[in-house]
Symmetry: C2
Subunit: 387 residues, 2 copies
């Protein structure tokens, strides 16, 4: 008799090593009979034919599935990770929203079955006030500067930054947040023990120390193009909103953006030069029917994330000049005073297009504030006036 | 007896030299009794007290109003200009839309009473397919490059560019259009005989030759701050839409933008670096309740101007790579093939998360297109494949 895993967590870990995330048929079956029973039926050849075909290679050469599951658990422990499954106290329930958007065209957009997490933090708590910052690997200096800045300021405002682990925008966002003492979440498309790309090695170590490295795939899984796309749905679903900073027209960040929009999360983008191909994909978001919001500062991101009732971004302080403090009518009168001449009230009023009585009142006020001088009931621009 | 102008056009010219545009009381009176009668009553002291006060300085020192009107007509003719009044065949009727937006807060947002135009062209015809390009005087090289480019391409697509006459964006837009042989319209806040600023002298000459210089004020009128704001409503009302290219937070371009939005014209802006103060005002438009559209190319401007049924901007051609032509399932299979190994169909199908029968079909197709080689019913990545 086959030795089967007797723990749902172990069974889910085993299944995740055999079948890619977002398999609608498997997920439906898991919902019906639970992971232990699914594993049992797989090895007994009693699952729908399609699932049998997908798993046949592994089933046929694995005579002790419980031992295989234990191996995965050991590899998980060895790299200091653990596995979260739905129902765990630190499982982020917002991932369920993915059920709302998966459909026949995209059956793989399902909630994850389980998550490997590396780090001490509580994933649910970290993501409760979180925002994704995503963008191009081949980002410009400008884009990286923006990502770093935005991540730093959002961190200071108490928001957790969630991103992938790529060079460019992902890296800049993590480092910006980490530099302010933040805990970030890096969601990977490979095993958590060897985050890709290796060049971000020390960044990943810092994230594991302070935040969390997260993946749907067991240790030993390597990156593949389709896994990045699958991973993106998790970044979008974990967070309250996604900010796209620099994305070429074809870009994974735009894929994350679409998931965010479909999930009803707040989709934002930062603008850049029209002449920069790296900004083209971000600008394109503004012209798609997703209502992507243009953001230029952390305050605006927070305003958009918190919506009605939340803090409003203070408009940047206008560069006020003395002239600008004048009312419309005051300004008209000051401007209508020819430099170096003295003018009667009625004539000045006519030039400024202001009724004479209002002009007289207003000129008295301008006299008090030092804008004009009065000479024999006529008016002159005061020498101290700047206009 | 006072010598009064006997022609409505002359009467309007005279009135325009006495009372600033957008005087609700005068305009209402003009609607009731017509310009000749208004002039008569002004000189007889039979108009409402406020109008009397505004005009008293001129009325009291002008004993021959008909001669004064004739002087204005002579100055108009001398600079090669003419005066258009509502009802003229080349009067642009869309200016009437301003009646929809003037209210107690902004009584001056009224249609112009008359327009001085310098140039041969028909103003109505020129503006029938027109778009305003406005922005900062202190524009960056980037902004000027954009304005020039956009104006050139819109001109080639048969659109007339309308703008002010300032340095920076206005100038770049005019020159971009003129360089492609376009006729542009420059709407001024001073007399058409001496367009401000003088530094754009040769540009204005070119515009007068090929397009039109337009103003609500008679020859001899100098610019004033409030006249620029009054002028902006005409730029917004003449055109089907306004594109704001670079505007600081406090900027006349944003004033034009607001009029365009209120008039139901299409309001557009071009993005720029978040770090550029010159783009801040343009970006701010996207966050105001005006539904300003982000545009990066002339095609997008035209798409927005023509709306439903108009030409759609073709999305920029994606930079296709051979791998990208593969379907999702083909791509998964190609990526799951380890380099340098041969793999069985079922094992490869499992690794790619694809049902074995679909994998088999798909691999046959990939064999034909040269992506994979078959060796004894097992599969290998073809040497020629790029992935």
């Amino acid at each position: 008799m086959t030795n089967l895993p007797d723990d749902p967590r172990l069974a889910l870990m085993l299944l995740s090593s055999m079948i890619e995330p977002g398999d609608a048929e498997l997920d439906d079956l898991l919902g019906e009979i639970g992971p232990i029973e699914v594993v049992k039926r797989l090895w007994e050849g009693e699952v729908p034919e399609r699932l049998q075909r997908i798993t046949s290679a592994i089933v046929s050469c694995t005579h002790d599935p419980a031992a295989r599951a234990a191996d995965i658990a050991a590899a998980t422990e060895e790299c200091g990770a653990r596995v979260l499954i739905p129902g765990d106290p630190d499982w982020p329930d917002q991932l369920r929203d993915l059920l709302l958007v998966c459909d026949a065209d995209e059956p793989h957009v399902r909630p994850p079955r389980c998550l490997w997490v590396r780090g001490e933090q509580d994933l649910d708590r970290l993501c409760r006030r979180s925002v994704a910052i995503v963008g191009a690997r081949a980002a410009t200096e400008y884009g990286q500067h923006l990502a770093d800045d935005l991540a730093a300021e959002l961190t200071e405002a108490g928001w957790t930054i969630v991103s992938g682990g790529a060079f460019g925008i992902d890296r800049a966002a993590h480092l910006g947040a980490l530099a302010r003492g933040g805990s970030t979440v890096s969601v990977l498309a490979c095993g958590v023990e060897l985050p890709y790309p290796k060049g971000n090695h020390s960044m990943f170590n810092l994230i594991a120390e302070r935040g969390l490295i997260v993946s749907e795939w067991p240790p030993g899984t390597t990156v593949m193009k389709h896994r990045f796309l699958t991973r993106n749905r998790v970044i979008a679903a974990l967070t309250a909103g996604t900010v796209v900073i620099e994305a070429a027209h074809r870009s994974g960040a735009r894929n994350t953006a679409r998931y965010a929009a479909e999930l009803g999360r707040v989709l934002m983008f930062t603008p850049g030069p029209v002449t920069s191909s790296m900004s083209a994909g971000a600008h394109q978001l503004a012209r798609e029917p997703w209502e992507a919001r243009l953001v230029t500062r952390a305050e605006e991101v927070i305003e958009d994330l918190t919506g009605i009732g939340g803090p409003l971004a203070t408009p940047p302080p206008p560069q006020r000049r003395p002239f600008d403090r004048l009312t419309e009518i005051e300004a008209r009168l000051v401007e209508s005073l020819p430099r170096g001449y003295v003018v009667e009230t009625t004539r000045l009023a006519a030039a400024a297009g202001v009724p004479a009585d209002i002009a007289a009142e207003t000129l008295d006020r301008l006299l008090q504030t030092g804008w004009v001088d009065r000479i024999d009931n006529r008016w002159r621009l005061s020498r101290g006036s700047h206009s």
